[in-house]
């Protein structure tokens, strides 16, 4: 028995798992309908895939949500996991699930997948026969993704950096890398049986003034960590940044460099797709304004040429959206994608060149770290501030980089900290901004820059 298999048996021996039948699960994956695999839909490339957000505690409510989504002509169904499961607290999740079932009041902010188990959940997934994407935010997702794949969920979002730095203050980053290595290996293993399992990184990070160079570097690194373990289908992603041209340039550079770095480690055969998140920052409370923002995001996603778009709802600023609002966004987004035509090819050579140089410089610095494995190089680079994510709450993050928006609302780096932004790029970024201001004005600018969509 391989070391991985030993570890899997320990993980799946968890008291909350009701006898995991490895052979049966492998048979299921082997024979699963191609429509359950998002990698199959990406391969068809007929249109940008539309994926909403959403998760409810009970099986019945999740089922009802999916019915709404399918009526609205959804392409990819989401399964958002509750926060107890994210913290591996299955006992509390179980209690809250029982209370939710008994009282018709939702006591969890998502679907407690481990507690529902794969036998039940698979019934729902095969019933709808749509690709499902697992959204969780879990640093240790080992058990969760085993149950997910056994249920017929063949896309796993997240990664050791993107699921940790935006959400956690002090979960150990080195542990996260090791837990995600397990995830990659399991995904790679199942990918040999049928269409590949798709892994997706979470590009939005803190969704607060993160410059595109940092976003792209982290996307590329999580992609490499995944391909290294044998994953064959990976989605890089980012969220609307506030400037149309910066989004388009970010998309172009991300695609180019993803192919470049995948080839560098001999993984030309892996399929890399690009995912665009509708605005993830502070939303307008006015629902009509929120609708405008969402539609604008869809238009920009089309100009970026994304392969998938992940949607928001008009109720974003208010709380957990109703299934009606969620389905309405799907229908609206599909309509917009259908009628939007004649997209111009947009190239901004200067911005592309600057951004590409920045990403290469940071990547090179990471690779030059003396550690022996990629994950340790990345770990060290975060620790010493070569990678610095603005507004991350995590203690390991440096927080020395400062960004503001220029007049076109492009995010610009005005203080690079330890991030090895090349001097000429740094000079360019600063030249785009008015820095003859006192700090009070700069801090006010940052506050305004965070709230640009309100």
């Amino acid at each position: 028995m391989s070391q991985l298999q030993e570890e899997r048996e320990i993980i799946l021996g968890n008291e909350n798992v009701d006898s995991f039948d490895f052979d049966e699960v492998r048979e299921f994956v082997k024979g699963a309908d191609e429509n359950l695999f998002i990698s199959h839909h990406f391969a068809k490339k007929e249109k940008m895939l539309v994926q909403p957000r959403g998760g409810f505690p009970t099986y019945e409510k999740q089922f009802a949500l999916y019915e709404f989504f399918v009526d609205a002509n959804v392409d990819v169904l989401p399964l958002t996991i509750d926060s107890n499961t994210r913290l591996n607290d299955y006992t509390t999740a179980k209690k809250m699930l029982r209370l939710s079932e008994a009282n018709e009041v939702d006591m969890l902010n998502g679907y407690p997948l481990v507690n529902h188990g794969y036998r039940n959940t698979r019934k729902m997934m095969t019933h709808f026969n749509h690709p499902v994407s697992l959204r969780h935010g879990t640093p240790d997702a080992r058990l969760l993704i085993e149950i997910a794949i056994a249920s017929g969920i063949f896309e796993i979002e997240g990664g050791p950096i993107t699921y940790l730095l935006p959400y956690s203050k002090n979960f150990p980053l080195d542990k996260a890398f090791l837990y995600w290595k397990y995830v990659e290996r399991v995904c790679a293993d199942y990918s040999t049986l049928n269409r590949p399992i798709n892994r997706e990184s979470f590009g939005p990070l803190t969704a607060t003034l993160v410059p595109p160079s940092i976003t792209i570097v982290i996307q590329l690194l999580e992609m490499l960590l995944s391909l290294e373990e044998g994953v064959k289908s990976f989605s890089v992603s980012f969220s609307q940044q506030g400037s149309m041209v910066q989004d388009i340039v970010t998309g172009t550079v991300t695609r180019k460099l993803a192919d470049h770095y995948a080839a560098q480690i001999g993984c030309e055969d892996a399929i890399i797709n690009l995912v665009y998140h509708q605005w993830m920052g502070a939303f307008p409370t006015n629902r009509d304004s929120a609708d405008q923002l969402i539609n604008m995001s869809t238009v920009i996603a089309s100009m970026v040429g994304a392969d998938k778009i992940i949607t928001k709802t008009r109720e974003e600023a208010v709380g957990i959206p109703t299934k009606e609002a969620n389905a309405k966004t799907v229908a609206n987004t599909q309509y917009t994608l259908r009628i939007l035509s004649g997209l111009p090819a947009i190239v901004d050579e200067q911005e592309e060149e600057i951004l590409t140089a920045e990403v290469h410089a940071i990547m090179e610095a990471v690779f030059n770290d003396p550690a022996d494995t990629l994950w340790r190089k990345v770990f060290n680079s975060i620790k010493n501030g070569i990678i610095d994510v603005p507004f991350s709450p995590h203690i390991i993050n440096h927080n020395k980089m400062i960004t503001i928006r220029d007049a076109q609302k492009n995010i610009r780096i005005i203080e690079r900290g330890n991030v090895p932004i090349p001097d000429r790029c740094y000079a360019y970024e600063k030249s785009c901004c008015d820095l003859n201001k006192d700090t009070t004005s700069i801090v006010n600018d940052i506050i305004r820059d965070i709230g640009i969509m309100q």
Partner: protein, 153 residues
């Protein structure tokens, strides 16, 4: 640090967001603003417990403790301030400030400020603009006369 991050003062301040609160944006802006005004900043980040604040103040020898609270749950923690502070003898001269959104639901500053002063805070800013709050701190420091060491305390 770039040119605009300069100032005249040079005091040590411990700051952070209290309790189960992940409002990192406010915390970073506070850090930035304090640095810009010339303070030496020890930022404990989000999700910090009261004990950690006092421990850090002792350890760093800070003159100022500036607690942010944004999710409105500060009252639960603030009641323990006097009792805890009493444990740390070296903190007699510490200037204690709290700011942010200091109550759940809507409350008005007239009721809230005296209540927090009673908990032991020298400066209380409920829904006050960040820079206005830091101006208040500077004014307070200028006129601040540290309590005399009192052998009976």
């Amino acid at each position: 640090m770039i040119a605009w991050l300069q100032s005249t003062l040079n005091m040590k301040v411990v700051t952070g967001v209290i309790g189960n609160d992940i409002h990192v944006v406010a915390n970073r802006l506070m850090d930035l603003s304090l640095n810009a005004r010339g303070y030496e900043v020890f930022n404990l980040g989000v999700n910090t417990y009261l004990e950690e604040f006092f421990d850090a103040a002792v350890e760093t020898g800070a003159e100022i403790l500036l607690i942010s609270s944004l999710n409105g749950e500060a009252e639960g923690w603030a009641r323990e301030v006097k009792q805890l502070r009493a444990k740390y003898k070296s903190l007699d001269q510490l200037i204690m400030m709290i700011g942010g959104n200091l109550t759940v639901g809507s409350g008005n500053a007239k009721d809230i400020v005296p209540r927090y002063k009673n908990y032991g805070f020298d400066l209380v800013c409920h829904q006050v603009d960040l820079n206005t709050g830091l101006d208040m701190l500077e004014d307070y420091i200028k006129e601040y006369v540290p309590p005399q060491e009192n052998p009976s305390s």
